[in-house]
Symmetry: C2
Subunit: 350 residues, 2 copies
DNA sequence: GTTAGCACTCCCGCTGGCTGAGTGCTAAGT
DNA sequence: ACTTAGCACTCAGCCAGCGGGAGTGCTAAC
């Protein structure tokens, strides 16, 4: 793996200059413009030599001979890992983020939806936020009520305050006392059970019940078979339009690729999941370039950070944009926001 | 207003030929290609003369001198009103649509979401479906239950089987017997009340209550103040991607306009609402060209049809695509599907 | 009233020259 | 040994000019 020692100071400064310049202008950057924009005390010719070296090492690339250079994935990676000095948020910005979270937000889904909007707004990129998945959510309360002769509504409240309902049509009529005992039964046996293991939990206990209880348990199992299980975790995506304003997605073909990516959310959730598994450290993980399992889309990057509930990581939030992004700002935004989300959720979930 | 009598038969046949040709190829159509594709027994020169007349009357236009003609809005309108012979659905297609609706669909939202998907799939355009608005929905059942010391969930089931929930944080603790009486109270007074008039209904009766009942009523009012009122009716939109495949939206600027339109759903709902008000007849209404209140988007058309519940029109479904659309097929699809939706909803709502 | 013929218009794609930004290389300077 | 100035070279982007092709309008003949 490339290490910080692989580049001497001059090379580092020039790589940094190139990345910074390219991030703001989106134009390939040449030796002359580097010495003009950044005062390096060097001549264009020297810079050219260094840039040629950097290209040989795989940090820069030319789109064609005799055009300026642009960073490669490795170039961005090096920049992010060693060169970038994180740009702290101003007090103003911090206040703004905090202000957004003082609003009435009743459950985790609302918090995360709001988060994705906030990230999009504040970064001018696309905001991503993954809701806590069923493997991190527990039943807090479960209730069944009749809404018609053959119709019941099952309602599940999880530990993040989220309410899910599922209406079920039954063939037989279920009396009120039967419902009563069903609700009682469900609450007794499913309290604090993980949302993705409801059916299983009932099933396991099913054989231990006899007669009366057994009938109730069987009914419960049937209901849960129809329960609202999001197999995939829900992903909130906001501000997708910002991407299409970027010059790299002006071409129709590119734009379509991005559009398709947004339609097919599984690619994004998988990517976030991997990021969550990979990165053990607290801070941002940055994904640069092509997302696995997607065609094209080489110039998409994601800055993502996990959020926690009671010190356990339960999901990711992030910002998605062109590879050419102001990482130094975005990492701060994402980290800070993830902190806020963690606090909100920890408060919500008791 | 233009009437069928304004065009003689030859003019009608040529207009029809031009529209048909343009709909399939998206290329401006010239006199020669008309006589080749459609056997009119006329020479190109004659056709040219007629086309010049049609242009003068405002049914055709040239994108530049000496290019073929394309239909104007008026041209499409004339075609749709007088020339188009509705293309009946094949048995296969009808079966397919019916098959789609045999699935388990528990409430109106599911029906209409499914409808928008179906329309998109079957037409290769974008499918639209508006959920029944609050002004057409009634309370079937309303329930309040505690989920925490200071937290209650209010659950409203409407006559279309839809379940809405709203969690509310209260400052004081509410006892179980108080909740019981609250639920009782709400059901007693709000059964069959329109969803957009809940607060008002309580408010009106508030003054007639005394003491005990009054306290309950006030609590109810506070809860309803926080109730989930979709101000706007919900709009399901599916298959937006199909539009971007059409040649007329290849340009980046055009594509963005469409994208923005989809983001800002109010424009679409307003448009459907107008269509619902305008058209008194049973069948499809067809909207051609620019949508009010939107910039650009001159070449968007919508084929829409109302759906009914117990003979009352309560919403619209439709197909959105480029102005150049195979209307003769789409009208059948939309009409037939609207019929299915009406049946489904009438069955659901009892 | 219809048609053939003809001149005309205009888009579109192709080519070629020009410019400007940028590079690599070499030779001279420190 | 490194740095720098100079120079030749490359290549995208732009503009102009040039047919070719599709289509039109008009006129004269049928």
């Amino acid at each position: 793996m490339t290490d910080a020692r692989d580049l001497n100071e001059r090379e580092q400064r020039i790589l940094q200059a190139v990345v910074n310049s390219y991030i703001t202008t989106a134009d390939p950057v040449g030796s002359r413009s580097v010495v003009k924009r950044f005062e390096l005390g060097l001549s264009p010719a020297t810079v050219r030599n260094v840039m040629a070296d950097l290209e040989e090492m795989g940090f820069l690339q030319q789109i064609h001979t005799s055009s300026g250079r642009i960073p490669t994935d490795a170039g961005y990676r090096y920049y992010v890992n060693y060169l970038m000095h994180v740009q702290e948020l101003t007090l103003r910005e911090r206040n703004r983020i905090e202000h957004e979270f003082t609003e009435k937000l009743n459950d985790a889904d609302e918090v995360l939806q709001h988060t994705s909007q906030l990230l999009a707004l504040i970064s001018n990129q696309a905001g991503l936020a993954e809701a806590p998945g069923d493997s991190h959510a527990y039943v807090n309360r479960i209730e069944v009520m009749a809404v018609g002769p053959h119709r019941v509504v099952m309602l599940i409240v999880d530990n993040y305050g989220r309410v899910r309902t599922q209406t079920v049509n039954l063939n037989e009529t279920v009396g009120p006392e039967q419902l009563q005992s069903l609700s009682q039964f469900l609450n007794d046996h499913l309290y604090r059970v993980r949302l993705d293991g409801l059916s299983q939990a009932i099933e396991e206990r099913l054989k231990t019940f006899l007669d009366e209880r057994r009938k109730t348990a069987e009914l419960a199992l049937r209901l849960l078979g129809l329960a609202p299980q999001h197999g995939r975790t829900q992903l909130f995506l906001e501000g997708a339009g910002h991407l299409f304003a970027q010059p790299e997605f002006q071409g129709v073909d590119r734009a379509r690729e991005v559009f398709d990516l947004f339609e097919e959310r599984t690619v994004l959730t998988d990517m976030l999941r991997n990021a969550l598994l990979d990165e053990k450290r607290i801070s941002c993980s940055i994904h640069i370039g092509r997302i696995d399992g997607s065609k094209g889309l080489e110039d998409i990057s994601v800055v993502a950070s996990p959020y926690y509930c009671k010190d356990e990581p339960i999901g990711m939030i992030g910002i998605l944009g062109p590879r050419r992004m102001p990482y130094s700002r975005l990492t701060s935004i994402v980290d800070y926001t993830a902190g806020m989300v963690s606090r909100m959720l920890t408060r919500l979930a008791r």
